[in-house]
Symmetry: none
Subunit: 220 residues, 4 copies
DNA sequence: TATGAATGAGGATTCATTCAT
DNA sequence: GATGAATGAATCCTCATTCAT
């Protein structure tokens, strides 16, 4: 599955008019900020009301649920990132080039949408049912794109890609590096972000180029 | 600072006797399981009571707070891991050997204490004040041990270790790989764990051996 | 300090509208009744909910705290009494006249707002911090007005008023008479209340007119 | 009723031996201190346990109830005071002499047993049933002794004493002065206590000597 | 006598959500 | 579109009390 399909799973309450849409954007930004800082569970709708200046009851015009609010944030943010990445992949180039491009894009997006992306990264489990599934699907898409690149570097054929634990692991290691950044990134200390991406690629690229490790290991 | 100091920040209900100690262990295990699955915030003390069979009020004999319960889990689990790692480092060997030992130990511990370690990894922010600080200190200790190894591989002198962003980043990338595993590890699919560790080392070791990337990057 | 300043210490849920204000009055009346009968500590919010017919959660729309509820009662009741007394003092007259006026006003107010005033009198210590201080300030104001009258009768100059133990004691004796009434007053037996006031004045006025007792006493 | 009858209403758990009696004294003193400071309701048995060093369970050897603990304090303290006063009255003398003696005794006792007597004065309502009745009876006895003196000064015959509101009121006014002292007494500022008693007598004695006020008053 | 361990009831408070206006 | 007012369920925690040892 390569096509990205994003359409409201559940319908956010009523059609936004051109007058309400910017208000919604503002709202989602504030909510993302709160949830990034304190987590979804510890963020109350009342917090969002206070921070946005919208009344408690009024908020429910914009989303039908606390969970729906979270979904809206994740869907928009992650969706936009993936569109970006899809375009980046479409530009072509060899595997290393594409990998570097992916990582840099990710990190630039991370910088511009820190709160929102943090929420995407750490609050998937706060969604349930259809909403969970919709975001999980996006995540899988992202995973597969990276896995394909790893497989290409290692010359693992597409049909063995799914079953090859080593590809899986290497891919997830890279996502681990990428996702953990939210816990330590300090704008003053760790900029510029492109440099960070290059360091990550440098750390990993030689290992990738060397090919996958042997299937079996005896232990020390 | 190499000595690990772990002593109750706040004093949970006095010295456990030999009769209550195993009960406490059991309790903490159950609580860790719940918190690993649903998160700290979504785990209620009532859940713990139901799952353990201890009465709601009775639990408060073992800890003074929900937060204290979390602290107890983190302190014990993380403390024990760090003791293990401290011993592992004391065994000596070159940087790569020590790094591989650290990673393997971590992953074995991860396997044996999945729930508890997941709680340590993802719920630090649920602690506050002194309790937060006590665990954060443990984390810093762990970070520094790994950073020292990276610095040694790269020949960065000890006094520049703190200020060198590249050492910092490489170290945190490795922790990212390690910590993200909780989100995807599947016992059936991803064992054995030593193999996982070797793959991680393989992915990263060449990059490390190549030395740090240049300080500045230009580029698109 | 003669100006009375009473403004919410902490902001109970915003500005009451004309629709909610009477409900709040009713609520505070009920709560005062319960607290007068059973004390603040033994009055539960649930009691208030049951007695008012408002739901447990709904009550928190009107105050943010159990303590805030108590504060609201005290601030309103005591504040209104002191406004009354301030006006009474402004009417002028000699010291005895003003004293009699004060006592009568107090007792009439006592009769009309028995529960509320009892709560003011006996539950100051149930407040803390800013709220305590706000009410304590009102109490001090009241004390000083009475002390001034005593001092005037005795010809103690204003600047010695603070330091003169005899003025202090006589004033507090009168407050003692006044405040203890809550423990024994029986509407059937002890009315009319103006008569009670006159008896109190009669008991004390001759002693006051005789001037302060000598500074030092040898004992029996 | 002149005879004082004090015998445990309820039996404090088990007969105290000579070894446990002093421990009980200590315990009651501590408990009285806590209850004087924070009130009966806000004092927990756990507080008493912590403050005394006796274990929570162990306390129940000394009393069977939290209420029983309060009762023990009140019975002992108030009982001893009344014995003192009974003896003081037995010494004879005219009404003024006896009144002054009563007041001085009361205040000296107040000074030596501040906590305990405060608890007697303010926590009668925390007792129920038989225990309440037993202490209320002591209080009535005390009230009557003072009322008799007032009646004697005013020449009110003993058989009209009960029905005469003016005697009742004057008596209760004096108790009000006496009982309110707990709320303001400051050892540094307000000593010596005999002097305080003399001031109280001086404030009131002229009014008493002048005879009761006329039965009816027109108002304002 | 005294303690550690445990219970169950009740208390204050928060919170997502709803609905009439 | 938006608000004020209200609800009911759930949550954390405290506390008097008990009982085996």
């Amino acid at each position: 599955m390569t096509e990205l399909d994003r359409s409201g799973t559940d319908g956010n309450a009523g059609g936004m008019t051109s007058r309400t849409a910017p208000k919604l954007d503002h709202l989602l930004g504030i909510a993302a900020g709160l949830m990034a800082r304190r987590g979804f569970g510890r963020t109350s709708i009342r917090d969002v009301a206070n921070e946005t200046g919208i009344s408690l009851g009024g908020l429910y015009y914009y989303f039908k649920n606390k969970e729906d609010l979270l979904f809206l944030i994740q869907e928009r943010t992650f969706g936009a990132l993936l569109e970006l990445q899809e375009a980046a992949l479409a530009e072509g180039g060899d595997a290393e080039t594409r990998l570097r491009r992916l990582v840099r894009n990710h990190l630039r997006y991370f910088l511009d949408h820190f709160n929102e992306l943090k929420v995407c990264t750490y609050e998937l489990e706060s969604l349930e049912g259809e909403r969970y599934e919709a975001i999980a699907e996006l995540r899988r898409w992202y995973y597969h794109r990276l896995a394909e690149i790893v497989a290409e570097v290692w010359g693992v054929p597409g049909d063995r890609l799914e079953s090859d634990g080593r590809v899986r692991h290497a891919t997830l290691f890279v996502f681990g590096m990428l996702n953990w950044i939210f816990t330590w990134y300090d704008a003053d200390r760790d900029k510029p972000v492109d440099r960070l991406g290059d360091e990550m690629i440098a750390l990993v690229m030689d290992g990738l180029r060397a090919g996958p490790p042997p299937e079996r290991t005896e232990s020390s």
